[in-house]
């Protein structure tokens, strides 16, 4: 397959997936039970007029799409209306302009709020991923090198157990240990009210707040990388050419470094990209436990407050990020993998 065609195909599928996600995202939220206008504001003081005003404000008074006033199939509507005046196309149109709606809860544009939190989440996930990858891979190499010894079994047991831990549970335990015995901050990103004289001080403060969440993240995710690395390496090491190399008298370390690791990198890249979708699960829990102001914590708050535009926006942002990450991995993979050019 020619690379250009391969790339075009991958990009095409990514775009199609995004389209699917957008449609899914829109309709999921119209199957809501109850009246979104009263979401999170269960307050009898809210008058009927106020509810109606909120409905108009959030565009909920418009038909969902041509022929359907709502998603209730019994409530059919006018089919001959301007499609651009339906909720679906207004939604898509707004998306194209980068608008994700207004949060029910805070009355602020969702896009603004998500933007503030995205970087915090990227910081946490990025740091946690790098540590998990580096430590996990090292442990995996060690285990494969010392295969079927006590070291291997110990590393394997540790990784499997780490993977089996409920993230939030580990987080809470680390929170108590860390704050009681190590004097680490309990939550947040900064120590509020602190006067920073230099930006280095500020970053140190952020770093201090990052220790526990990152530790939790790393423990939960390194097991996965360790297992992949170990099994890939074992697989590669069982190949004939490794035997040949061994016969030539090349040291195990050299073999690992020159042959095995290179091969093992290929699946690792794919795994890391795919794993991003999975890391969101961890981020939601960790950010909630440690009050880290990121997307995951925002999802938790939005669920509790039934802030549907926020949930919708966060899901879309996460899904699109993961789709792009996978696309990036695919393209990168094509660069690594010669079979794309060959066939």
């Amino acid at each position: 397959m020619k690379r250009s065609r391969y790339i075009a195909q991958k990009v095409g599928w990514a775009l199609l997936t995004i389209l699917f996600v957008i449609t899914l995202n829109f309709f999921l939220f119209r199957v809501l039970p109850g009246d979104p206008a009263r979401a999170g504001v269960r307050d009898p003081r809210l008058t009927r007029e106020a509810v109606e005003a909120i409905r108009v404000r959030f565009g909920l008074d418009k038909p969902v799409i041509n022929c359907f006033q709502s998603l209730n199939p019994m409530e059919t509507g006018d089919c001959f209306i301007n499609p651009l005046d339906t909720q679906f196309f207004i939604y898509v149109g707004n998306l194209l302009q980068g608008e994700l709606g207004i949060s029910y809860h805070t009355n602020r544009p969702v896009a603004d709020m998500l933007m503030e939190m995205l970087w915090n989440t990227l910081l946490l996930i990025g740091l946690g991923q790098i540590l998990a990858i580096v430590l996990g891979m090292s442990l995996g190499v060690l285990a494969a090198w010392k295969a079927r010894t006590a070291v291997d079994h110990g590393a394997l047991l540790f990784s499997l157990t780490a993977w089996s831990l409920p993230t939030f549970w580990l987080g809470i335990i680390l929170l108590f240990i860390g704050s009681s015995y190590w004097g680490l901050p309990i939550g947040g990103r900064l120590t509020p009210g602190t006067v920073y004289n230099t930006s280095i001080e500020r970053w140190l403060d952020i770093g201090n707040h990052l220790i526990l969440p990152t530790l939790t993240y790393t423990i939960v995710f390194l097991g996965e990388y360790m297992l992949i690395m170990r099994s890939t390496l074992l697989d590669v090491l069982s190949e004939d050419y490794i035997l040949t190399a061994k016969a030539k008298g090349i040291s195990t370390f050299q073999i690992l470094k020159d042959h095995a690791l290179r091969n093992a990198m290929l699946p690792m890249v794919t795994i890391i990209a795919l794993n991003l979708g999975f890391t969101v699960t961890g981020a939601i829990q960790i950010e909630t436990v440690f009050s880290w102001p990121g997307l995951g914590g925002a999802i938790f708050t939005a669920v509790n407050r039934r802030d549907y535009p926020m949930l919708q926006g966060a899901f879309l942002l996460i899904a699109i990020s993961v789709i792009f990450a996978n696309l990036a991995a695919d393209l990168f993979y094509s660069y690594l993998d010669p079979r794309v050019e060959d066939s």
């Binding site: 980068g98 900064l190 990020s321």
Partner: protein
């Protein structure tokens, strides 16, 4: 190896680019993403640094716009940053805040306020009568402010004849003007007059005239306030206050224990005992400043009163019978619920009017005592017997006394309360089908649909009893404000009377009578009046108000009087 690290870095860069690229940007982007570049500096920081009190809480203001805010956290900040005409005191009385005196016309419809001298906004502009008039007119005219119209519904006109005088004319005389004005914060006209859409205004600069001014606000992270030491009324002893959000209740308690915050405004009741053992911590509990209702709602709407548009009205017919509700009331062990759910931090409830409302609360009412035998007797006498011996009684026409019992899924205590109720009621042959529902679904089955049997729920009200009482009037059945579908002409009549009775004693007498009626008819069981709990550390600040009788998240009085221990 080097090449592989490059690979990893390249991948991460791509990911970052991808995520950044997928992020839609809006023209009105607040530019907050550059937060990393900003450093906080204060001019001429004292040698010891500013004295900042750190408060931990579980929430965060939903918005800083007083017109659209809902959460108590937002009102806490408003109380500190804004002033209004009156201030609610912990004993339930009101004192003048912005005004030094008020003159009421003989017919009770014209209030003439004279403002205090030397009030300035945080940006240095003077606060004058025209700011007050502007704010009140804004609240009255903005339809997009969801809650405030009810406070301005009696407003006829608000005028500012000179800088110091505000003339408020009402359409009719009302007894509770103070409670109408306490949440109408006075905003600076020179800022809000230029706001195109007041409901969408984020108000992040938040210029007010209160004893604290906004320093830095990060949603869901913290609110940082500076003290206004030369405030015209109440200059704080401290230099500032920060409110930090903790998403997790255990983290909140842990933050206080480890001294990372000086005060927490809420906590799980289970933590109280452990905190009381901490020598550096003082725990205070008491009824809330504004009523916070927890209710067991019976669907008692009659077919005649079923709302014609929205009503589904599928309530169990047995609940229409006062005998059944009476039996359930006798079979409800309120003290046990208080012990298990609240760990004892509450008082048994009577009606929607809580004991914290002072004179308005009718303490003469004798509650239905917990007596399973009596409850069984009542049901036996009323013809509800278990004729097929399956452990569940039936109505005379053969329908089982099985009630749907719902509660909001975001409630922490309700599942535990439901368990206890099921245990209690099971002893009198009543079974419940329990289901937690998300708040939207619950709203849609509740009212005005009346598609339920029993709901456990709760909500907050303002400190005047008027709204609490209105919830049981017939007029509110179709609006959805009446949760039970309860209708009693005598009660309705009394409600109208109390709303315009100016004499305090007379109004209180009417309100007491209304509570008797509501308690007799049992549209609700009020399991308890819960107490609020706060805790302070004593090692950095002294002077916390601990004996005010009431505890309120939104009550800032402690922050105005505490001072550092070592000064």
């Amino acid at each position: 190896m080097k090449r592989h690290y490059l690979i990893l870095c390249a991948l991460l860069l791509l990911l970052l680019a991808a995520c950044g690229g997928s992020q839609p940007t809006t023209p009105a982007d607040s530019g907050d993403t550059g937060s990393s570049s900003q450093t906080v500096t204060t001019p001429a920081a004292e040698a010891a640094g500013p004295v900042i009190v750190r408060v931990g809480w579980g929430g965060s203001p939903d918005t800083l716009n007083p017109g659209t805010a809902v959460l108590a956290e937002a009102y806490t900040i408003f109380e500190l940053v804004y002033d209004s005409m009156y201030q609610l005191q912990p004993d339930g009385s009101y004192t003048l805040e912005l005004a030094e005196s008020v003159d009421v016309s003989a017919d009770g419809t014209v209030y003439t306020y004279t403002l205090r001298d030397g009030i300035t906004f945080h940006d240095g502009e003077r606060l004058t009568a025209s700011d007050v008039a502007f704010s009140y007119n804004l609240y009255a005219s903005q339809e997009d402010f969801p809650f405030l119209p009810i406070y301005t519904s009696y407003f006829d006109s608000v005028e500012a004849p000179d800088d110091k005088t505000v003339v408020l004319t009402l359409t009719e005389a009302i007894p509770n003007i103070e409670s109408q004005l306490i949440y109408l914060y006075v905003l600076p006209e020179h800022i809000w007059a230029d706001v195109p859409d007041a409901a969408e205004f984020e108000n992040t600069a938040m210029i007010g005239s209160g004893p604290f001014k906004m320093k830095e606000y990060r949603q869901n992270e913290f609110v940082s306030l500076d003290a206004v030491k030369d405030h015209y009324l109440k200059g704080p002893q401290i230099d500032g206050a920060v409110f930090q959000t903790f998403d997790n209740p255990d983290a909140l308690v842990q933050a206080l224990k480890t001294g990372q915050v000086d005060m927490i405004t809420e906590m799980p009741n289970t933590a109280v005992a452990a905190l009381r053992n901490d020598a550096n911590v003082q725990v205070v509990s008491g009824p809330p400043l504004s009523p916070s209702v927890t209710d067991i709602i019976f669907n008692v709407v009659t077919p005649e009163n079923c709302p014609p548009d929205d009503g589904i009205c599928t309530g169990h017919p047995a609940l229409q019978d006062r005998n059944v509700r009476l039996a359930l009331a006798h079979a409800t062990d309120k003290q046990n619920i208080i012990d298990v759910v609240l760990l004892g931090l509450g008082a048994p409830g009577l009606t929607l009017i809580p004991d914290s409302l002072g004179d308005f609360y009718n303490d003469q009412i004798q509650d239905y005592e917990f007596d399973i035998a009596l409850a069984n007797q009542i049901l036996d006498d009323a013809g509800y017997v278990d004729s097929n011996n399956d452990g569940v009684r039936e109505t005379p026409d053969g329908r089982d006394l099985i009630f749907r019992l719902n509660w909001p899924s975001d409630s922490v205590d309700s599942p535990r309360m439901a368990e206890l109720l099921a245990g209690n009621w099971g002893q009198i042959g009543v079974r419940t089908e329990q289901q937690s529902l998300d708040p939207d679904t619950l709203t849609s089955i509740c009212c005005p649909a009346f598609d339920f049997d029993i709901i456990l729920w709760g909500w907050g009200s303002d400190p005047d009893p008027s709204f609490l009482l209105s919830v049981m009037t017939t007029d509110e059945i179709t609006t959805g404000t009446n949760e039970t579908g309860y209708s009693n002409p005598e009660y309705d009549e009394l409600f109208v009377q109390q709303a315009t009775t100016l004499d305090d004693a007379q109004r209180i007498a009417i309100i007491h009578r209304m509570q008797e009626i509501a308690h007799h008819d049992i549209p609700y069981i009020i399991p308890y009046y819960a107490q609020e709990v706060q805790a302070f550390r004593l090692d950095r600040f002294r002077g916390w108000l601990t004996d005010a009788g009431k505890v309120a998240l939104e009550d800032p009085s402690s922050l105005l009087v505490i001072e550092p221990v070592n000064r």
